[in-house]
């Protein structure tokens, strides 16, 4: 059992170290370290309705992070979750526009599926460039993020623009009220069910299927899997597409749930936090689920801090960054990346 607990303890220790580093930074800029930390933890875990805020931010993060874990495990550094998340929201918004008037039991699944398809497509082209032309997916998926952000600006101020919308904020028409899978508070049984399903299926895929075992082997040594006769290209494309589909699903959940409309600049940047979550979680889907909720709590705290305590919300960014620093220092993931770059 100690063998299983060890990574948990290690990760906990890293987060603790990160918090200590943060307090030093807070102290250096003249804030009281203890008060700041307490405020952050209050905002994350102890304010009224803390659980519902954790779920609101944690569940979309969780869905995205499971996808990132799948691609990292297979040895592909899909850091385009943010772009795939945008494309998911965009495609779901198009679907919602086309399906106006249809009943919710048709429209909601259709929009969610459209979101998954959008995310999957946005992961497919870097995957094809990788396996057919050897283009490094770190570069292509990162570029994909920028392009996706511009597509979002374009559709919200062009094809999907709400004609009645006023002012500076370009956005789409609101989703039909009956289709919303949560109110703007952002947590609901449907979203919990979707997230639970993602964790279950993700865990099954990674631990109980041929794909899971072979992609794990390929992630560590693609040459060996090739000599075993595996179709490494097919594994790679599947991992990319699954990862993109889940990011896209998270995007459509944001759209159909808390956001209710597509607005440029107002979608959260779950994609980047999800990469951090996947790194902290190692290669485990279950760990990613718990850690996503933890980061969901931090995110909600970041929005609460400036309102309630006058502390800057960037305090949370500092925490995220320090955790990333400690985790990447030990992560074999990055060692693998370096080895591949050298080749």
């Amino acid at each position: 059992m100690t063998g299983r607990l060890y990574p948990v303890i290690q990760t906990g220790a890293f987060i603790l170290l990160a918090l200590i580093l943060c307090s030093l930074i807070f102290a250096a800029v003249g804030l009281s370290a203890t008060e700041t930390l307490r405020a952050i933890l209050d905002g994350a875990f102890f304010r009224p309705n803390a659980l519902s805020y954790i779920l609101r931010w944690g569940l979309p993060l969780l869905i995205t992070a499971v996808g990132v874990v799948i691609s990292f495990r297979a040895g592909y550094f899909n850091i385009g979750a943010q772009g795939q998340f945008y494309l998911g929201a965009i495609c779901a918004a198009f679907a919602a526009e086309w399906l106006r008037g249809s009943p919710a039991f048709v429209a909601v699944p259709a929009c969610l599926l459209a979101g998954m398809a959008g995310g999957a497509l946005w992961a497919l082209w870097p995957a094809l460039l990788r396996v057919k032309a050897g283009a490094d997916e770190v570069i292509t998926t990162m570029m994909g993020n920028f392009i996706a952000a511009q597509i979002l600006v374009h559709v919200t101020s062009g094809p999907l623009k709400d004609p009645s919308g006023s002012g500076q904020q370009a956005s789409s028409r609101p989703i039909e009220a009956a289709w919303r899978i949560s109110d703007s508070s952002g947590s609901s049984l449907i979203i919990i069910a979707i997230a639970a399903l993602v964790v279950l299926l993700g865990w099954w895929l990674v631990n109980r299927t041929s794909f899971g075992i072979l992609s794990g082997l390929a992630g560590r040594n693609p040459v060996m899997v090739t000599w075993q006769g595996a179709k490494v290209q097919r594994i790679a494309i599947s991992a990319f597409v699954l990862s993109g589909a889940l990011a896209g699903l998270a995007g459509s959940v944001e759209l159909m749930g808390p956001n209710g409309r597509l607005a440029s600049g107002f979608l959260p940047d779950h994609g980047f936090t999800a990469i951090l979550i996947a790194l902290v979680a190692g290669m485990s889907v279950i760990a990613a689920a718990f850690i996503a909720l933890f980061f969901g709590a931090l995110t909600s705290s970041g929005l609460w801090l400036p309102v309630m305590t006058g502390l800057p919300s960037s305090a949370i960014d500092i925490i995220n960054a320090s955790i990333a620093l400690f985790i990447t220092a030990k992560a074999g993931v990055f060692r693998g990346l370096l080895i591949r770059l050298r080749r």
Partner: protein, 533 residues
Amino acid sequence: MNPDHLLRGAGALAPALIADAVTVRYGDVTALSKVCARFEPGRIHAVLGQNGAGKTTFARVAAGLVPPAEGLVAVFGRQLAGGDVAEARRAGVELVHQSFALPPSFTVAEVLQFVGPISGLFTKRGIECHWQAWLDSLGLGLDAGARIRDLPIEMQQSAEIARAMVSEARLLILDEPTAVLSPEGTERLFARVRELKRKGVTVMLVLHKIREVLAIADTVTVLRGGELIAGPLEARDLTSEGLAELIIGDGAARLDAGDRAALVGAAVGQHDNHSLPDAPPALVLNGVSTAASSGGKGLNKVDLTIRAGEIVGIAGVEGNGQRELVAAIAGLDPLTAGEILLADRRMDRAPLAARRDAGLRVIPFERNVEGLSLSSPLWENWSAAQLVAGSLLAPVRPRALRSAAEKAFKAWDVRFNDAAQIAGSLSGGNAQKVILSREMDSGARLILAAQPTRGLDIGATMAVWKALRHARNNHAGILLVSSDLDELFDICDRIVVMVSGRAVAEFTSPWDLQAVGRAMTDAGKQIVEEATP
């Protein structure tokens, strides 16, 4: 012991090398344990032993590259602290490693000019003239203007030796220099070594074949399991049988005479030919060619038939198409011409998974890269072949796979604690047994065994040979690639020699070492002549 006493008499007559109770540890592993030896100057000293005996470690500690954990090393009366190349060079010792490290784009003259401190201005012709004269005086047979990457292996090794001699080394250490050479190349190397000896250089050769040791050495030192077993003994007093027992130890008597001789390179083994002319072919290659790659020239119209129940060896100096041959049969290198039949089915374009389905198994060249994923659990490594055969979405029961893997490992006598431990935690021999347990199942019809015993100790080598013979007796066809002719002679039924991607000659028992050696080199010359009319 008092070092002053040991070092007394430093100067012209000081021993070339003194090792006094030298112990070297790598982490928890003791690679050398209390080794004492004294090598007199002006002679050729051989250090002999099996893989894992500590030969290379001894060479490195003697050359001052590795600091001893305990004990003392002195070269020509100067004690070496170890870990400092400059210090070792001043003392007059140089080591030529097993793997070569000269910059491929340099010419020989440039290498020699720029290994030491660089000063002044040079012209290309100037340094070439200067170093050509120097090379000729050493009798190394090198062209100073040739680029390293254009040189055959044997000449690259000469260039390494020349590089080592630039600093006027008085003790030259060669680590397994014959491992990459053909028999004739070995003879030429020995001629060069004798020439160096005539010029007053002391040479220490790390070898593992008794035949070679008896051909060249003045003294022999035998290591086993990191300990000094005997030596330095005067070579003229030694017999092949006596040395074999020193190298192998207590187990020597239990080994089959042919295997024992092959293990220590004592004499050319002879054995019965098991090939059955009527047996169905397990593999047929007709005029197979592949495209040249960065690593080599590719295959050139290779015809080869392997029948069920025979072991066919592929002999040749490394880099003559052996890797391309294995990759082509495995379906990882596309053919540019010709056809491949596995068990009478055309498989020219079939993916490896389909070929595995038809009974192909591969023990690849690079155990730790192509054979295993070192950072993955053992059971995943073991079950990969099975999983590949099914669909990607096929459900998997890890517990069942783990216990199946454990059962297979026990049957193959793999020393492991837990099927969940990572493959990288196993020794080379155990890692190879994991690969054997995966690749040599009852469904195997054609087994490609590429250098399956490289780097393995006696026990693991014997396990591999036993497994190959067992598979042969179960009517599998086996293709054995090895750069060790003794291994091929001991277990093959036929031997095909490869040169420059061609199958140039075929031999059957009784083996003729000279004839095989000639085929490895003469055919090469012929091909070069054809290419340059």
